[in-house]
């Protein structure tokens, strides 16, 4: 078992009313799964992903990640946990604009205090694997959307995470580019055993996954 969500609630208070963003979510994820989260806008997909990624808190319920009780951990430990095991891929890539491709890839390693020589080796390996060696000194704005997302995936993978969380990774891409990214995810999942949870609107993309979770108004349906 990689992670387990038990009776997760998340709400905000607005105008004296409690609005539920997540309502009684129960979810078990095994290692090696490829899960697609689907649902209409505002159904709580991204919120769920943020809760799983520990970027956001929840108000009620239990969350166990690799047998650690996330809901009881302090923020610092939580940060260490996701730093160690989770990689994020975003719809709008969120590459650091001021850094080159190479430096963007290096950034997570810097925060994990890898040595200089190790970092170089890992970055070179990743560039090679994604076929972007020729782009290593370019800045994000000089790349196409597909290429940027490629770098985003590479960055998420570089520190060998157990889990990849992808929030509409193909939302800003054309069909050919999204095809490529989805193939990549599939390959990672099947060949390297990386667990992937993706949020998507597209039935076609959802079909790449082994399991589909549907959300509506914060509830699993």
């Amino acid at each position: 078992m990689l992670l387990q969500l038990n009776n997760i609630f998340k709400w905000v208070n607005s105008g004296g009313q409690r609005i539920f963003l997540l309502k009684d979510i129960n979810l078990d994820v095994e290692e090696g799964e490829f899960i697609s989260v689907m649902g209409p806008s505002g159904s709580g997909k991204s919120t769920l992903l943020n809760v799983i990624g520990m970027l956001d808190t929840f108000d009620e319920g239990e969350y166990n990640f690799l047998h650690e009780c996330v809901h009881t951990l302090k923020e610092k430990h939580r940060a260490n946990l996701y730093k160690e095991y989770i990689g994020f891929v975003f719809q709008s890539y969120h590459l650091l604009d001021d850094l080159t491709v190479q430096e963007n890839l290096e950034m997570p390693l810097l925060y994990k205090k890898f040595k200089g020589s190790e970092r170089k080796a890992m970055v070179a390996d990743m560039l090679d694997r994604f076929n972007i060696v020729g782009k290593k000194d370019l800045f994000p704005v000089q790349l196409s959307g597909g290429q940027q997302q490629l770098v985003g995936v590479a960055r998420a993978l570089i520190a060998n995470p157990k889990l990849i969380l992808a929030d509409e990774p193909t939302g800003n891409l054309n069909s050919q580019q999204s095809e490529e990214i989805m193939q990549l995810f599939k390959k990672l999942n099947e060949e390297d055993g990386v667990t992937i949870i993706q949020v998507t609107h597209s039935e076609k993309n959802a079909a790449y996954g082994s399991r589909i979770i549907n959300l509506l108004d914060g509830r699993k349906v």
Partner: protein, 794 residues
């Protein structure tokens, strides 16, 4: 990691070129002015450091009945005090007696000359670069040079043991050279000679009685001395020995450490003002950096969030910001050092040098200033790096990553108080500058009661080598001038307005028993004519009617009023202590401003002395027909070129000479102007940053409003309104403070303008215009933006 931080910092700074440049310019100018102010304050406070135990040194101050005072006391008092007081370790005079001409080889020099007792070094212990304190003033024919004089004559060599010829006849052996003395020190020395040398001089001997006060007196006291006892003892000695003790109110024992402010009282204002100004400028710089940093933060919330997702800790983010700001701060410190050394220091010296002497920067001695500014730089970096980051780092990652920051508490109030503070300071300085400008303009253009235009003034105390020859040539020149149709009148006198000796005598009206202290000068029959000072009563001097031996005088109206006279009929100006007949008073002149307008017109008497007394008058004043100044000036200069003298003849327009009185206050005005410009400039930089911040926050609102039909003007008003109100609040705070401060200061001027509302209106308008311009730049840009673009990005 560090390398990475620096790399990213540089990229960030480069990316926001405009903002970085604004920041850098503001910082550099600000820090350079802080550096300049701090350095002059530091130079002032450390100037007397070479004098050990200076807290045990005192000087005497004579207080007169009318509250006036001077730092001189009768000569014999020193020995009496040293011999009778148990509190005094040693005492010395330090006084001039004419500056002595010194000869070395072919060259002649004249420097400020002071005479002192051999005990001088027991009192002051001023360190010597060469020579021995014990013996330096023991020998009668010895001389001590200051480092500056020694360098001028002998270069870098040790001159001790060499001989200078003094006053053509004396063989003076050099017995010492002082260590360099700061120009801001209490001491203004050139050369120092033992006063035993003067004991041969009959005129000097005659003056050293109990009725003449011409020498400052200094004592070194025991550390446990009772100063009250000393004062009582000294005033007892006054009662016992003064020929007329009632002439003075008493003697005061003053600490030496207060002497500088006692001599030039405005020093306190300058030093206090410098400290306040540097504090305020520093404050503005900091606030400004904070504002500008906050303004870049919006763009960075996303950046920070992404970094956090990638595993960055808060510390990493803070360090990144500190390094980024540190680079800015320290680059600007380096730029400001260059500015300080190449621009500010020379300007400071030009502005205040004439009054206080030129100071120079010496790293071995003045390193604390640099250390201080670096410490300030580090603290500033930490502050501006940490404070804004703390606000933004709290944004939850899930929000931050979308570039949203709605959840941040809106501490607009805090930022507003910063803006109000900045603009209060800026408007304060602008108000002060406006008022001071008015006051100086008033002083320079006021009706001074005499004609200062088309009057040439030259100095004629030139140390003539052959006085008789000089006199005959001078008389010929006077005759030529008087015959010249372009010359309206010719005058010789001891003083001219702005340059009267501080020479006072008390006269008495025996009938009414009134004593009046007159400032005294000498003038000939052309003086009041040349200056066009109107005669109120009686007549002008007349070379055919006035007898030089009777010393006829003309007094001013202030003097007449002080006696309570309504006419001068049958009055004479009599000395208080003397059976002498006194001076016949031939006339009364209208009051004119013979000194600057910071001082009131006091009783003034001119004693008649005709033009033949070349060596006893100091000035030649010639009133010339307008337009003919150059021709007459050339004629006089040519005549003086034919007279051999040690000093050269120099000539000025009287107007320039009178205006030069305000050099110091002009300097203060310049400093205030510069500070005002710097504070408003830096404040506007910060304002510029903040409004771009606001514009970015409201980019969607602006877009929607434009879609709904709002015009550019409406948007500009929307963006700038709040800030204009803030500047208004700042003005409301600043005006009363400026009004109070300037009222107090103008109170120290005998003649001052009254502060009126329009001066504040001008100050406010200046601040408003500059602010509106700054705001407008950004606001118009935002308002003109295409709403389709801004709405799409949301």
């Amino acid at each position: 990691m560090l390398k990475n931080h620096i790399k990213i910092s540089l990229r960030n700074l480069w990316k926001n070129k405009t903002l970085s440049l604004l920041n850098l310019v503001g910082l550099s100018i600000g820090v350079a002015s802080v550096l300049t102010l701090l350095f002059s304050v530091y130079a002032y406070y450390t100037a007397d450091n070479p004098i050990p135990n200076k807290e045990n040194i005192v000087y005497l101050k004579t207080i007169l009945e009318d509250g006036n005072d001077y730092r001189e006391a009768p000569y014999p008092l020193l020995d009496k005090v040293v011999n009778t007081s148990p509190d005094v370790i040693a005492g010395t005079h330090l006084h001039g007696w004419g500056n002595i001409w010194l000869e070395h080889g072919e060259k002649e020099f004249q420097h400020r000359t002071d005479y002192a007792e051999p005990e001088f070094f027991e009192v002051f212990e001023l360190p010597l670069k060469y020579g021995n304190q014990e013996t330096a003033l023991k020998e009668k024919y010895s001389i001590i040079l200051t480092e500056k004089v020694s360098r001028q004559i002998f270069g870098d060599t040790n001159p001790v043991g060499k001989t200078l010829i003094g006053a053509d006849t004396l063989n003076l052996k050099i017995t010492g050279v002082f260590e360099p003395i700061s120009p801001y020190s209490s001491f203004r020395l050139g050369v120092v000679l033992p006063n035993t040398l003067l004991k041969d001089n009959p005129t000097f001997i005659k003056q050293t009685d109990w009725s003449n006060s011409f020498s400052p007196v200094y004592f070194k006291l025991r550390p446990d001395a009772n100063r009250a006892n000393l004062k009582t003892l000294i005033n007892q000695l006054v009662q016992e020995n003064y020929s007329d003790p009632s002439l003075i109110a008493g003697l005061e024992v003053m600490p030496f450490t207060e002497m500088r402010t006692d001599i030039i009282p405005v020093v306190d204002t300058i030093i206090g003002g410098s400290i306040a100004a540097s504090f305020f400028v520093l404050l503005i710089i900091l606030v400004n950096l904070l504002n500008l940093n906050s303004s870049t933060m919006l763009r960075r919330t996303k950046d920070i969030a992404v970094r956090k997702v990638l595993g960055s800790s808060k510390k990493n983010v803070v360090v990144q910001f500190c390094i980024e700001n540190g680079i800015l701060v320290f680059v600007s410190i380096i730029i400001s050092l260059v500015l300080f050394l190449l621009v500010n220091l020379p300007r400071l010296n030009n502005t205040f040098g004439a009054e206080f002497g030129r100071i120079s920067f010496d790293l071995t001695k003045d390193y604390p200033v640099i250390v201080g500014i670096v410490v300030v730089g580090v603290l500033a970096t930490l502050m501006v790096g940490i404070l804004p980051t703390l606000r933004f780092i709290k944004v939850p990652v899930s929000l931050g990553i979308k570039g949203k920051m709605n959840q941040i508490k809106n501490n607009f109030l805090l930022r507003n108080s910063f803006i109000i503070l900045q603009f209060t300071i800026a408007i304060l300085f602008i108000s002060i500058a406006v008022i001071l400008n008015q006051q100086i303009g008033f002083m320079k253009n006021a009706d001074l009661g005499f004609e200062r235009h088309h009057v040439l003034v030259g100095n004629i105390d030139l140390d003539y080598k052959d006085l008789d020859a000089a006199k005959s040539k001078f008389n010929a020149l006077i005759n030529d001038l008087e015959a010249n149709p372009y010359v309206q009148s010719v005058a010789t006198s001891e003083g001219v307005p702005s340059d009267y000796y501080f020479n006072y005598t008390t006269y008495s009206d025996l009938e009414t028993k009134t004593d009046v202290r007159f400032r005294r000068s000498y003038a000939d029959d052309g003086y009041f004519e040349a200056l066009e000072v109107p005669i109120a009563m009686g007549r002008n001097f007349d070379r055919n009617r006035d007898n030089l031996k009777e010393y006829p005088v003309i007094i001013n109206e202030a003097g007449m009023k002080a006696f309570g006279w309504t006419s001068i009929e049958g009055k004479r100006l009599k000395f208080k202590v003397s059976d002498d007949e006194g001076h016949p008073i031939v006339g009364v002149i209208k009051d004119f401003h013979y000194q600057d307008l910071q001082n009131a017109v006091e009783p003034l008497v001119h004693i008649y002395r005709d033009k033949s007394a070349l060596n006893r008058h100091r000035f030649l004043s010639v009133k010339v027909v307008e337009g003919q100044e150059q021709q007459i000036s050339n004629m006089i200069t040519a005549a003086f070129n034919g007279i051999s003298s040690r000093r050269g003849y120099e000539q000025l327009q009287l107007n320039d000479k009178v205006s030069a009185q305000y050099q110091l206050i002009d300097g203060i005005l310049k400093s205030v102007n510069v500070t005002a410009i710097i504070t408003i400039f830096i404040s506007c930089l910060g304002m510029f940053g903040l409004i771009s911040f606001l514009a970015k926050r409201k980019v969607k609102e602006i877009g929607i409003r434009k879609v709904l039909g709002a015009g550019v003007a409406k948007i500009v008003v929307l963006l700038s309104k709040d800030y204009i109100i803030l500047v208004g609040i700042a003005a409301i705070i600043a005006f009363p403070i400026a009004w109070y401060a300037m009222n107090v200061w103008l109170g120290t001027f005998a003649y001052s303008i009254s502060i009126s509302w329009w001066m504040f209106a001008v100050a406010g308008l200046i601040a408003f215009c500059i602010t509106a311009f700054t705001l407008g730049l950004q606001a118009v840009k935002s308002a003109m933006a295409n709403p389709v673009k801004s709405l799409r990005t949301e």
